[in-house]
Amino acid sequence: MRDIWGHKLSDSLKDLVERTLIEILEETAMIFADPASPEGIEGPPGDLVYATMEIEGHAYGSLNVIAPMDLVQAIAAGVLGVDEDSEQATENAFDAFAEFLNVTVGKITVEQFGSGATFDLKPPVTAASDTQRWQDILNSDDVVALDADDNLLLAYAVLNETVGEARS
């Protein structure tokens, strides 16, 4: 078993996570994000939503994201093409955040391992979250921080390859 993304992400894979999150935010929700420095981030901004998605198969691990509710609602609004304050955006906020994670994981696994690798991607899980989780992720060596339309999004990934040389 070869360790690919262990407790310390390699810079190239961290870049892939960062780049893919930015691309998917833009492609699916028309939200434009830039990398942010974790050092400059202060306390968590209001209500938080956490989403995680487990990956099994050619590699195993998870991608985890946490963001303020305002951004999660903005993602839903962007995906659905409705106002951020609309009932539809509010009702679909968690679900849209889960789908955002799903699409991101799909793209990362293909880019990292090629289409020859087979994965069993578990349905993403979302939940309201708390300050502690925000702080834990922020303090992680592997954290990816994005500034998305003046909202912060944090992410981290853990992924270990289970099949030796099967990249295509």
């Binding site: 849209a96 699409v103 289409s115 069993d120 349905p123």
Partner: protein, 127 residues
Amino acid sequence: MNLNILVVDDSRTVRAVIKKTLRVAKIPVGELIEAENGLVGLEKASSMSIDLIFADINMPIMGGVEMIERIRADQNLNQIPIVVISTDGSDERMSRLQKCGISAHLGKPFQPQEIRDVVCEIFGDIS
């Protein structure tokens, strides 16, 4: 020709986006039926008159591959065109789905024009 379309995806956001995309792409839709997993999709396909199915792959309870294989094994349903819309595009899974005779695979995120193109490919000029 109005098409009765079954959309099978565990994300209601995706179902809403597909619904909107069909409208934007000017696909003539009769009934649009939604299902949140493969099992419900199979039940709806069995109990209603469906012209086209859009299906996700990774879903709880019953995933898209099992649903499609069961639809293809049912002589009353096996002629329904199926378009897979999924983040999962691995060669092995695509090969398995091709063997089931899916009509097309679209990756997420998709564009309205892609939806229109695959529907036109299946049903000809539908405008």
